[in-house]
């Protein structure tokens, strides 16, 4: 293997044999140069002769090429002029067990496999939700397995530490929404109704949804990575052999923590949004008192409560999805990363889908 690797092959015919006369170094680089000509010659169906008299070196890569050509042709070739060392290498490669180079998997097969995987995934999810509910029901009997410390740590991580981000995002969203809606409303002299627009949309939709996006990105992915790393390190197996239920010990504290912090995050998000909106309206000449009166009149309790109920469901869904992504982590260095991605994407998508279902239910119930 040097930069000066050179190899050549001369193809000729003699007495009904295909003669391949090689020269130079038949190492991996050299074999790369003459591989195609060799295989072309081997496919001509004539028995092969390898003339190796002018080969200076033949390693296992070169020998593999010769053996591969023999196999393509169908019969062992005659080897001429090889030094004992080269002959030994070729013999060694001939004797080495080697699986055939394989063909691509057919598309139909891939589709069938993917469909099976999808089906299994769906049934796994149903089983998983059932297991979580059973674990919740059995919790009074398994009080020792409830990790209080885990719960408080998660609540702190998912809730308290998310507050600055929630505040920032809330104020910005309030500012932007108020500004964007004020300009067109002003044409109709309805400027002040921007307060209702922003207030209602924050309370019913944006507050819970944005909080869910933050929770999914900060916490869902963290759940997946934590539990996924535990899985990779066989810690989950260790728990199982001690007779401890990972659903109760790991999933429940996270589930409860995420469910409980979400209404708080949502409220903070909404208040921050209203502050942002008030700032804009103030700039347009409305006193804060006017704005707050307007909101207090139009945004009613059921808007806020409906939003908070939704946010708890989002929190539960995100926690369950994040933990499941962790528990189903595969093997290898990429597995934890894949799990974290699945947690974030799954959490956000699930929140929006659930939000749609809530919209439908609220409409039917006339809430």
């Amino acid at each position: 293997m040097t930069a000066g690797s050179n190899a050549s092959v001369l193809v000729s015919e003699r007495d009904g044999f295909r003669v391949l006369t090689y020269a130079g170094r038949l190492d991996a680089v050299g074999a790369g140069r003459v591989w195609k000509s060799t295989m072309w010659a081997a496919r001509q169906r004539l028995p092969l002769i390898f003339d190796l008299a002018r080969v200076t070196l033949c390693d296992t890569a070169g020998a593999t090429m010769l053996v591969f050509a023999e196999e393509a042709q169908g019969a062992p070739a005659r080897i001429e002029g090889a030094t004992p060392e080269i002959e030994a290498v070729v013999m060694r490669v001939r004797e080495t067990p080697r699986r055939p180079v394989h063909e691509a998997v057919s598309r139909a097969q891939t589709v069938r496999q993917e469909a099976m995987t999808a089906y299994r995934d769906v049934s796994d999810v149903i089983v998983y939700i059932g297991e979580a509910l059973v674990a919740l029901g059995k919790l009074p009997m398994r009080r020792r397995m409830w990790r209080g410390a885990d719960f408080w740590r998660t609540a702190d991580q998912a809730g308290v530490r998310a507050v600055p981000l929630v505040l920032l995002l809330g104020v910005l969203i309030g500012l932007i929404l108020a500004f964007q809606s004020l300009v067109p409303l002003r044409r109709f002299g309805a400027d002040l109704y921007a307060a209702d627009l922003v207030g209602i949309s924050l309370a019913r939709e944006l507050g819970p949804l944005l909080a869910a996006v933050i929770l999914s990105g900060r916490t869902g992915s963290a759940f997946a990575a934590e539990i996924g790393t535990m899985k990779v390190n066989e810690e989950l197996d260790a728990l199982a052999t001690m007779g401890l239920d990972s659903m109760t010990m790991l999933v429940l504290p996270r589930l409860v923590a995420a469910t409980l912090v979400m209404p708080a995050l949502t409220i903070i998000m909404e208040l921050a949004g209203l502050v942002g909106m008030t700032m804009v309206l103030k700039g347009f000449g409305f006193a804060p008192v006017t704005v707050w009166n307007q909101i207090a009149y139009w945004v009613v309790a059921k808007d806020v409560i409906g939003g908070l109920v939704k946010s708890m469901v989002f929190g539960a869904a995100i926690a369950l999805i994040g933990c499941r992504a962790g528990l189903t982590t595969g093997v290898g260095p990429r597995a934890v990363g894949i799990s974290a991605t699945r947690a974030v994407v799954g959490g956000i998508v699930a929140s929006i889908v659930i939000d749609g279902l809530f919209a439908l239910a609220f409409y039917r119930l006339n809430v």
Binding site: M1, T2, A28, V29, W35, D59, A61, A63, F68, R99
Partner: protein, 254 residues
């Protein structure tokens, strides 16, 4: 392989210090081409460190190391001499296989980077290498799915991918069963004989050392350096150095 007379590896006055702690100092040795050279020593004596210096991963605190006639830490910076790097194969202690690829793809990677072989050619060569180390049937598995011994053998197959004239193996037989370990020893001798490859092997498997090593050097953490160099069988029979004697007789030091 060129017929140059220079040794495959030459270390002159090598030292290593980690955070003020001397690992070894003034280690000099020569590995002749076509030899199997063993680096021995107890744990913590710096065997793997010495190997890291030789393969260009760790600049020595003092001294110089030449691999295939070129200074590893010369003008081109630490371990940046691509030509040398292409002519050495390294098997790391843990295997260091890429976990996102199958064993086959691990072995195919260097072939893809450094040769013009078509896909079928790369795969055929890679399958030959895996066959050589007895892994023909495991080629399509992922590193995480195979046992520790199979990981080591796959790592050797990857080190062999380009049939380098010089191979560094860090503890190839540690943690392997005696049969697999003996198979590896045979493979190393076979590769040396058929390809004329040179091996530098870090090990403390006594049976393996005596079976394959042409020469060896022994490092010692107490002496902070080299305490013996030579043919391992001679060292076993006639060394007067107490640590060397204890090592070869598997005795605890008094």
């Amino acid at each position: 392989m060129s017929a140059l007379p220079q040794p495959a590896v030459r270390g002159v006055g090598l030292s290593q210090i980690f955070e003020g702690r001397t690992i070894y100092k003034n280690v000099s040795f020569e590995v002749a081409r076509g030899q199997v050279y063993a680096i021995l020593g107890g744990s913590g004596s710096g065997k793997s460190t010495l190997m890291k210096q030789a393969i260009g991963l760790l600049r020595p605190a003092a001294g110089r190391i030449e691999v295939l006639g070129r200074d590893m830490y010369g003008d081109r910076g630490a371990g940046e001499d691509d030509d040398v790097l292409r002519e050495i194969g390294v098997m790391f202690q843990s295997g260091a296989l890429f976990g996102s690829m199958s064993l086959l793809q691990n072995v195919m990677l260097p072939l893809e980077m450094y040769t013009d072989l078509p896909l079928a050619g790369r795969e055929a060569v890679a399958r030959t290498k895996l066959g050589l180390v007895g892994l023909a049937d495991a080629a399509d598995m992922n590193p995480a799915e195979v046992s520790g011994g199979m990981t080591k053998r796959a790592a050797i197959a990857r080190a062999l991918a380009l049939d380098p004239p010089l191979l560094f193996l860090d503890e190839p037989s540690a943690g392997l069963d005696p049969i697999t370990s003996a198979g590896l020893d045979r493979l190393i001798l076979e590769l040396r004989d058929t390809l004329g490859a040179t091996f530098v092997v870090v090990t403390h498997e006594l049976a393996s050392i005596l079976a394959i090593a042409d020469r060896c050097l022994m490092l010692d953490s107490v002496a902070q350096g080299m305490i013996a160099e030579g043919d391992p069988r001679e060292l076993r029979d006639s060394s007067t150095q107490p640590t060397v004697r204890a090592f070869f007789r598997r005795e605890a030091m008094a």
